[in-house]
Symmetry: C2
Subunit: 395 residues, 2 copies
């Protein structure tokens, strides 16, 4: 049986594989990017769904438009985009079956094999896999604790002329880092100067614990080269698989054609649930609630890390998002730590798969603080800290 060239060397997502471990409820999981089940608006979704299936079954159970369920596209234009200082028309908007699909459709619509795609180092490994399958040539720009550095970015863009730049500017996955306003302006400027498409993937931005929301890269976009991916996976529910993208009309049209051949259209009921959730005015209050929950969990994890981790483990207290990024001393391998942690029923994600460059990030790992209750966060961090100390003593 033939296997396509594009699949060679693609072994599957380390995180997806990790999910299989999560079946064991004894494992304290800091892996994945799962929202807390305590943060799902369960009763609201149940009530909305029941109303929808009583009133709109004929439409919702039928085939729908590839562009998306109209009330969801409208709610995005009328509420979500303006709340981020953005304004568009229907032709700027496409509904997605999760924002990963946006990356897949962008690759289909834009990328030829061998094209240069610029990514942050480290970056979301699901995105990296999608770009690999698209046979893009990946080039990296380093991501720092204070986000992207304009001089580094400009030099790399100038040298490599990437067709596309994939960035998660706020509470990045895996690092949790935030790219500053000046760098955001610079990205928009470079998009115009080098006719570079910028994918602004922003699923964590609304999960802010403190400080003011930063303007989007798209808000500085003068060349219509910035495309925004908006996910509801971290705010409402990942299991519903509802996301949207917003950008250049011609590109949205090409993505729509690509989507016809990907899944025909996204499920109507799921889109309608999210549209109703927005239209019933439930978003702001819910986001305030879950941001509070995650801020508390992050605090618990940081306090535990300060107590139990040796000082040589480096990390930053998060101001939003779902992740804390940890760096062990040079020469450590976080995969060794991972294997031994799983024996002690603690899981996280080793950092290497988030890196594009060979051998990079072996001494890093990602902790997620949103999926476990407080006492398990403390217990898991305690076990990890003890293990790290033991491994240090063995060295």
């Amino acid at each position: 049986m033939q296997i396509a060239e594009r699949m060679k060397g693609v072994s599957g997502s380390a995180i997806r594989e990790l999910f299989k471990l999560l079946g064991d409820p004894a494992i304290i999981s800091f892996g994945g990017g799962n929202p807390s089940k305590a943060c799902f608006p369960k009763e609201e979704i149940r009530q909305i769904t029941d109303d929808l299936l009583r009133e709109k079954s004929d439409i919702l159970l039928q085939y729908g438009a590839t562009e998306g369920y109209m009330p969801l596209r409208r709610a995005y234009l009328d509420y979500i985009l303006p709340s981020n200082g953005l304004h568009g028309e229907l032709e700027n908007v496409l509904a997605l079956t999760g924002s990963m699909q946006g990356l897949d459709l962008l690759c289909k619509a834009v990328i030829n094999p061998g094209d240069v795609v610029l990514v942050e180092e480290p970056s979301f490994l699901g995105a990296l896999q999608t770009f690999h399958v698209a046979q893009a040539k990946l080039v990296t720009v380093p991501l720092h604790e204070d986000g992207l550095h304009v001089d580094e970015l400009e030099a790399i863009v100038k040298e490599h002329h990437p067709v596309m730049f994939y960035t998660i500017p706020t509470f990045q996955n895996p690092s949790g880092y935030v790219t500053g306003v000046e760098a955001r302006k610079a990205i928009a400027r470079l998009a115009a100067e080098y006719d570079m498409l910028v994918i602004e993937d922003d699923p964590y931005a609304s999960l802010r614990f403190t400080g003011e929301k930063l303007p989007t890269i798209k808000s500085f976009d003068t060349s219509d080269n910035v495309i925004v991916l908006t996910s509801f996976s971290k705010t409402i529910s990942p299991g519903l698989r509802v996301a949207l993208c917003y950008g250049n009309k011609e590109l949205i049209r090409k993505m729509t054609i690509a989507k016809q051949g990907s899944d025909t259209h996204s499920p109507n009921l799921n889109q309608a649930i999210v549209a109703e959730f927005i239209n019933r005015g439930m978003m702001d209050k819910h986001i305030e609630f879950i941001s509070g929950v995650y801020a508390k969990s992050a605090g618990v994890m940081i306090d535990a890390m300060n107590e139990y981790f040796p000082e040589f483990v480096k990390y930053q207290a998060p101001v939003g998002g779902l992740f804390i990024w940890c760096t062990l001393p040079e020469g450590w391998d976080a995969e060794d730590l991972f294997r031994r942690a799983v024996e002690r029923k603690v899981a996280f994600v080793p950092g290497a798969p988030f890196h594009t460059n060979e051998g990079a990030g072996k001494n890093t790992f990602r902790l997620n603080f949103s999926a476990e209750p407080e006492e398990r966060i403390r217990e898991g961090i305690k076990r990890l800290g003890e293990l790290i100390r033991e491994m240090a003593a063995e060295k």
Copy 2:
């Protein structure tokens, strides 16, 4: 802005564009492949969904496995496959966001640009578009009123050595034709002899009005080269976007990796609704009910066609599925007919887009009988018949 090579010359689905017309309720639509809204098990779905969201929200709203929601995969293995004489294990099964996604994932996993894919002439235009975007080289085998002819198929396979053959053996889209048992056996034999992957897409098979169910191609498969796509779009609801595929474990694994980068996983709630529908024993009775409804609609349409269409329009009374395929005399252009029909508020799909070969099928068109009530079927066919007679008189 760059557009990928694969998208050049892909203009989007004629059927998807047609959907935009359907917003006008005055239009009698024989286009699309929409099930009747009278055939959605609305109250069952509402009740199941409410139960699921009361009992399993924590799981259903969370991220799920790329392979699919376990109870759905089990229901497929325990009930759906055995009812088609097939048996497999979990590793043979992948859940899909609609069966179109199966084609997309198969292309990603198997097809390199320039590879030969064999398709029926005519065939489902959504599939043709997916293969075009995959930059496959399409080769055709003629489909006849009695299905595929073994001698033709064997000669073409021998000459072109296709990597993949895409077939809809039962109540084919667009033709409604059925490929016989001997040809099914021959397809399985050719799959083994030429190491050819066969995609057996069978969304209409259970909508049988009369006669015995035919064995699947997969049931004759000795080389594990036949992959089955099973859709619930025609039996339960297309808007839910739930399908499954069943086949070779290695291929399913590669498709699963491709799916990680396509939509991460299919929505859990939707998969759970279908699983519950199956597990509550509702499938058989529901399929019996809707097959009866569609048989009646097909009868109404055929009676009206016999009454209103001139004799030079050729068609076959369907024994299942959703479509009647019509052939006008040579020299006619069904797109002309389409444009004038829409002015009279009747829509259907011209046949040319279902054809791969340049200029083929211009005198053909597809009628769908499942989406309109009886009086509108009669009225629409009357208008079409009058229009065809007028156009004949103009020639």
